[in-house]
C-alpha cells in the first residue's frame, strides 16, 4: 500500500475521536428512538445494501485471512486443505527456532528495525523544521511538491532509479571512471546493503513524512512565538521550547503506530534486490515467509513465522502505548 505511513497516522487521530463520537451517538439513539433493533435494520435495508459490497471485500481480504493463521499449528497440505490437514500443535514453532535461516532473517530484521526507527524516522521532522523556517510561501510550496513526489513511485521504480544512479554502469560510476577515479561499488555489495536500503527509504518517504509535521507545526499558536520573542528568546530557543514540545505528542503517536509494523522492514524493496546480494545479508522475516512459504511450499513453518511476527507487532503497540501512558502522553488509544 502506498500511503501506509500516513494512513496509520490518520487512523490514530481518528481512533481517538471515533469511539467517543460513537458512544455519544449510541446514547442519543437510545433516548431518541425506542424502536426495536429489528425495525432499525429493516429501515436501513437499502443503506446497508449500498455499503455491503465494500464491507464484504474488506472482511474477506482483511479478516478472513486471520483465520488462515491456524495453519501455523498444522502440517498443512494444499490438496488436503485446512480441514483435512493434521494438527501438530507447536511443532512448526519448534521447527522455526531450529532453522538457522530464521535467525539470519530475525537478525537482519531487528538491525533494520533499529536503523529505521532511530535514523530514518526523525528525518521528516528535521526537513519539516527546515521547510517551516523558510520565509517564502511560494518557494516552500514548490519544495514540498518536489519532495513529496518520490512517495508515489513504486519500489520497482525506486530500485531501478537507484541502480541507474549508483550501479556499476550507473551515472556515479560512469562519471568516476571517465575522470580516472576508482569505481565505487554500492549495488550488490552485501556489506553496504543495509545502508543502501536505508538511503532508498529516506529518498522515497522522508519528504512525504514531513506533511504531517508541517500540518501540526502550522497549528501551533503564533502568539506563543511572539511572546517568546518579546521575552528575548532567539529562533533556536523558540524552536527548542515551543515547536518541539508542541510536536511531542504527535511524535510519540507516530512512533507507537510505527512499532506495530516495525518488523515489516520493506518486503518489496528487499525482494527486488535480494538476488545479487545473497540471502545472508538480505533475508528478513517477510522475505523468509515468502521464500519458504510461497516459493518452497513450507506452509506451516512460514505461517508460524508470519503469525509470530504479527503477535509481536501487536504486543509492541500495546506495550508502547502503556509506556506512553506512564509518561503522561495520550498514545494511540486511551486506557
Amino acid at each position: 500500500m502506498s500511503n501506509r505511513e500516513l494512513s496509520s497516522v490518520a487512523s490514530g487521530g481518528r481512533l481517538l475521536a471515533a469511539p467517543d463520537a460513537d458512544t455519544a451517538d449510541a446514547r442519543s439513539t437510545g433516548r431518541a428512538r425506542r424502536g426495536g433493533t429489528g425495525s432499525r435494520w429493516s429501515r436501513d435495508k437499502l443503506l446497508i445494501g449500498i455499503g455491503l459490497p465494500g464491507a464484504i471485500a474488506l472482511i474477506l481480504f482483511q479478516y478472513v485471512p486471520l483465520l488462515g493463521n491456524v495453519i501455523a499449528f498444522q502440517d498443512y497440505q494444499p490438496y488436503l486443505g485446512i480441514t483435512g490437514s493434521d494438527w501438530v500443535g507447536f511443532e512448526n514453532f519448534a521447527a522455526m527456532f531450529e532453522d538457522p535461516k530464521f535467525y539470519t532473517a530475525l537478525y537482519n530484521t531487528l538491525i533494520l528495525t533499529v536503523i529505521q526507527t532511530v535514523l530514518v524516522f526523525p528525518i521528516p521532522l528535521f526537513i519539516a523544521l527546515l521547510l517551516n523556517s523558510l520565509a517564502g510561501e511560494r518557494l516552500k510550496r514548490l519544495l514540498q511538491s518536489i519532495l513529496y513526489l518520490p512517495h508515489f513511485l513504486s519500489w520497482v521504480i525506486v530500485v531501478s532509479l537507484f541502480q541507474q544512479m549508483l550501479g556499476n554502469a550507473g551515472m556515479l560510476n560512469t562519471f568516476l571512471v571517465q575522470n580516472g577515479l576508482p569505481m565505487f561499488q554500492v549495488i550488490g555489495v552485501p556489506e553496504l546493503f543495509k545502508a543502501l536500503l536505508t538511503t532508498q527509504a529516506i529518498w522515497k518517504d522522508a519528504g512525504w513524512g514531513t506533511i504531517i509535521f508541517l500540518a501540526a507545526i502550522s497549528r501551533i499558536d503564533q502568539e506563543m512565538y511572539e511572546a517568546a520573542a518579546v521575552d528575548g528568546a532567539g529562533p533556536w530557543k523558540r524552536m527548542w521550547n515551543i515547536t518541539l514540545p508542541s510536536l511531542k505528542g504527535l511524535f510519540i503517536l507516530l512512533l507507537i503506530l510505527r512499532l506495530g509494523n516495525s518488523l515489516s522492514v520493506g518486503f518489496e524493496q528487499i525482494i527486488l534486490q535480494q538476488g545479487p546480494v545473497g540471502l545472508p545479508a538480505s533475508e528478513v522475516l517477510d522475505t523468509y515467509v515468502f521464500n519458504n512459504g510461497i516459493l518452497s511450499q513450507e506452509w506451516g513453518t512460514s505461517a508460524a513465522v508470519g503469525l509470530a511476527k504479527t503477535v509481536v507487532g501487536i504486543g509492541l503497540v500495546i506495550g508502547a502505548n502503556k509506556l506512553a501512558h506512564l509518561f503522561g502522553e495520550r498514545g494511540v488509544y486511551e486506557k
Binding site: 481518528r14 481517538l16 443503506l47 471485500a57 485446512i82 521547510l131 541507474q164 551515472m171 506533511i211 538476488g275
Partner: protein, 318 residues
C-alpha cells in the same frame, strides 16, 4: 464544485492555510535572518531537491539519447543527449511484452479505480449516516483493518481458495477497499451540511437517491483525490502481482519493470515491436522506466493540489 470549495477549506486545514499565508511575510517581532544560516538552509534544501530531480532528468535523457551519445558516455547514463531519437519508445510501444503490460496495467487501473470508488463510497456512506443499523461494529472492523495487515501466507490462501490465482482480479479485489480511504471519505460525508439530508428525507428520497443526487455531487473533491490515490496504487501494484500472477503473458507493468530493468534481462528483438536496428538496451530499459513513471507524473499535480486543501489531513484532526 464551487459550492463545495468553502466548506472544504473550513472543514479541513483551512485554518492552517490562512495562518501560513499570514506568516509568509516576516512578522514584526521576528529578527532579521542571519545570512549564513539562510545560506546553509538553502543549500541543504537545494541538495535534497537535486537528489530527487537528477535521477528523473537522467533517465529521460538516456531514454531519448541515440547510440552515439550512449557510447560516448562509456555505455552509462546520459545527462545531456547530443543526438535525440525516439526509436526506443517506438520499438517498445509497437507491440510485444511492454505494450501488452502497459495495456494490462491501464485496464487494471481503470477498472480497479472505478470499483474501488463505488465500494469505498458506498461503505463510507453507510458508516457516515448517524444511527445507521450495524454501522458501529463495521466501523470498528474498518479501524482494525487500518492498524493490522493480514500475513502473506493467509492472504495467499484466501486468494487461492477464491480461484483468483493468475487472474487479473487478484490485483483488484484484495486491495479494492482501503480502510484508510473509507475513513477519510466517511469524515468528509459527515462534514456535509446535515440539513440537506433532512430535507431529502422530507421529500421522500431513498438513501440511494440521496447518495447519488446529493452526497456524491458535493463530494467531487474527495472522490477525485481518493480516486487518484487508488489509481496510483493500482498502476504501481507489484506485491500482489508477484504473489498471484504466474504466466508472463499476464504481467502488468511492475513485473515487466522488474524483469527488464531491475534484473536487467536482455530484451530481444522478438519480444518487442520490430524495428530494423534494435536500439541500445539501456535506452530500451529507460524508455520502459519512463513509461512506468509518466502516468504518475501526470496525475501528481492533481493529487498534490489537494494536499494544500488538506483533504487528507482533515481526517487526522478526528
Amino acid at each position: 464544485m464551487t459550492t463545495t470549495q468553502p466548506s472544504l477549506d473550513e472543514a479541513t486545514i483551512g485554518d492552517s492555510t490562512t495562518s501560513r499565508s499570514r506568516t509568509s511575510k516576516r512578522p514584526v517581532w521576528m529578527e532579521k535572518p542571519n545570512p549564513f544560516v539562510q545560506l546553509v538552509k538553502f543549500l541543504a534544501l537545494l541538495i535534497s531537491v537535486a537528489l530527487v530531480i537528477i535521477p528523473f532528468w537522467s533517465i529521460i535523457a538516456t531514454s531519448i539519447a541515440d547510440q552515439k551519445t550512449i557510447n560516448d558516455s562509456g555505455g552509462g547514463m546520459v545527462m545531456w543527449p547530443k543526438g535525440v531519437t525516439l526509436s526506443a519508445y517506438a520499438s517498445v510501444l509497437s507491440g510485444g511484452v511492454v505494450t501488452r503490460a502497459m495495456i494490462i496495467s491501464i485496464l487494471i487501473t481503470v477498472v480497479g479505480t472505478l470499483l474501488s470508488l463505488v465500494t469505498t463510497a458506498g461503505l463510507a456512506y453507510w458508516l457516515s449516516r448517524p444511527r445507521a443499523a450495524g454501522a458501529k461494529p463495521m466501523l470498528l472492523l474498518v479501524l482494525g483493518a487500518v492498524l493490522f495487515t493480514p500475513g502473506i501466507i493467509p492472504s495467499y490462501l484466501v486468494v487461492r481458495q477464491l480461484g483468483l490465482i493468475d487472474s487479473w482480479w487478484s490485483l483488484i479485489l484484495p486491495v479494492m477497499v482501503n480502510a484508510f480511504n473509507v475513513i477519510v471519505m466517511r469524515a468528509f460525508f459527515q462534514d456535509l451540511p446535515q440539513e440537506l439530508f433532512e430535507s431529502a428525507a422530507l421529500d421522500g428520497a431513498s438513501s440511494l437517491t440521496t447518495l447519488t443526487r446529493i452526497v456524491l455531487p458535493l463530494s467531487k473533491a474527495v472522490l477525485a483525490v481518493i480516486g487518484l490515490f487508488y489509481a496510483v496504487s493500482y498502476w504501481n501494484a507489484f506485491f500482489n502481482a508477484l504473489l498471484y500472477i504466474q504466466s508472463s503473458d499476464k504481467w502488468p507493468m511492475a513485473l515487466v519493470l522488474r524483469t527488464f530493468v531491475v534484473n536487467q534481462t536482455t530484451i530481444g528483438g522478438d519480444q518487442i515491436g520490430a524495428t530494423e536496428v534494435l536500439p541500445p538496451q539501456l535506452s530500451l530499459q529507460m524508455a520502459i522506466l519512463v513509461i512506468a513513471i509518466v502516468p504518475i507524473l501526470v496525475v501528481y499535480p492533481f493529487i498534490q493540489r489537494h494536499f494544500a486543501k488538506g483533504v487528507l489531513i482533515g481526517a487526522v484532526k478526528g
